[in-house]
Amino acid sequence: MGSTKRYAEMVSFGAYLPEKKVTTNSFASPSELPRSLDFVRLTGILAHHEVSEEQGSFELAIEAAKKAISRAQIELDSIDLVLNASVSKMNHELSQHLSPSYASLIAENLGINNAQSFDVSNACAGMVTALMIAESRIKSGQANYALIVSGEHITPIIDEAKRRNLYLNPRAIPSLTVGDGAAAYILGPTEQEGRIKFSEPFTLAQHNLLCIGQACKNHRGPRMRTKARELQNSVMINLGTFLQRSMNKMGVKWEQIDHTYAHPTTPKAVKKGGKIATEALGEIKFLHNESVETANTASTTHGVLLEISLENKYLTADETVLLISFGSGVAIVAIHFNLPEGVENWS
């Protein structure tokens, strides 16, 4: 690109949901929950997807990555950075991958041999954190094309929650809001400035104990314990100011954002957040709140929602997208980007 300035842009994205769909009422009916909770009414989640017997986080990630690479129409050799951001890294036998990076194994499986690869871990905000790193690498010329990928096999925490008696463990109830899924993004270089922008990233570490995910101590598989109300409040009380600061920092006009996606802990929570955002900045052009049948797929949620929008033919090249990301810890960060050329024709 000679002496011209170099920036990064979104080249493609893709998401994958396993075929098996499980309805919320099949495992969380009012008769099974404390105080006869109507979980569907409380959360707005009707169903989620679950892996098949042979699938784990890795297999999900590979499916999403293949889709994103095929849509990007680039050679595998041109990808020189692979970042994995999954929280779960769990195989079908519920063993957790530790080392080397999951990204290395994903790159190897895909035939990407010359890329630097490592894992970024920031709970549900992991993918947006990884996108920040990738954007910086491309802008500085250290990378050309970056694959950011995540596969989340997290539904075993539903079984754990139920097994541990929800009447005695109210902090396990939020474990019922998750689903399996995968997402991938390809970033690449451009001479055009401003096609990707990031908010200031925040970690509100005073809330770092509100959601803990780890291995069960006396049973195979993972568990999650969440102080759901406190966690939601920690985000909601900061959301309006965060968005106002983000618009200033990114130089973006709220009313000109075509598509807005927030991390869907539940569709009900997204609705509540949308109300706060509207009060702070005005009407939202299009708030995508379509996780009713996918639930919370952790780090992959934005990719999964983008894929649903694509299937619904909501997306057009060059339109602008805002992804607002929240993660345990509590991380809050947003990315604004222009949709890639040809997005309408992706299959």
């Binding site: 190897e108 910086s136 770092n208």
Partner: protein, 234 residues
Amino acid sequence: MLSWESTKIGYNNLLKSTIKLAKKAIHNAKIKPEDIGLIVHGGVYREHFRTEPAFATHIHGGLNIHCTNISFDSPTCFSFDVTDGSCSPHIALQSIADLLPSLRNKFALLCIGDDRPTKHCDWDYESYCVVAVIGVSGEGIKLVSVDYDNSNFNPNFTTIGYFDEDIKANKFLQAGNSKYLQQESKNNYFSGNSNWLSGKHMHEFLQKVDGQNDTLEHCIVDRSGKSTTAKWEF
């Protein structure tokens, strides 16, 4: 790198040690905790194989850096983890170099170390905790580049955490019998043993820093065969 601290730790007191060392490193760098805008932790093993939140958020909370709600002019600090086996220290350094220039506060904490996941895990590692203050400019040693080499990577040399049904407890399992590379030290080059954990790699490297006055290359080879080389300038 404006200052650093490292110490050998027991089986599972990484967080406590990291916070203690971070306070010392921040003091020695002649900055205040509130000047820190980024905390990146690199390592592989966490207590009970914890997956969320990031370990760095626990360090962040323990240091009480900007633990307030967001206002229109409140300062920010961002925390996350990176991992790639023993190469994690170099990945963490690179991630800081990637993000720090664009943040409001121009100092970061690099934190490296591992905890023994459970008491049932065989653990013959020497665990070290390392904390360094990194600035975008200053008088310290300068990270010039980090290169990677995948040519000897063997994807079968993996480590997984699993539940041992016989003893009803979590352990980890290392697949593949990799040939461990021994420590190698020349004038301007240092490479550790490929059986070391991240903390020990960084700790031993930092012992070589005193007395250097030109450049120093630090190579880390992971047991999977992947390697990274950081070039430092004095």
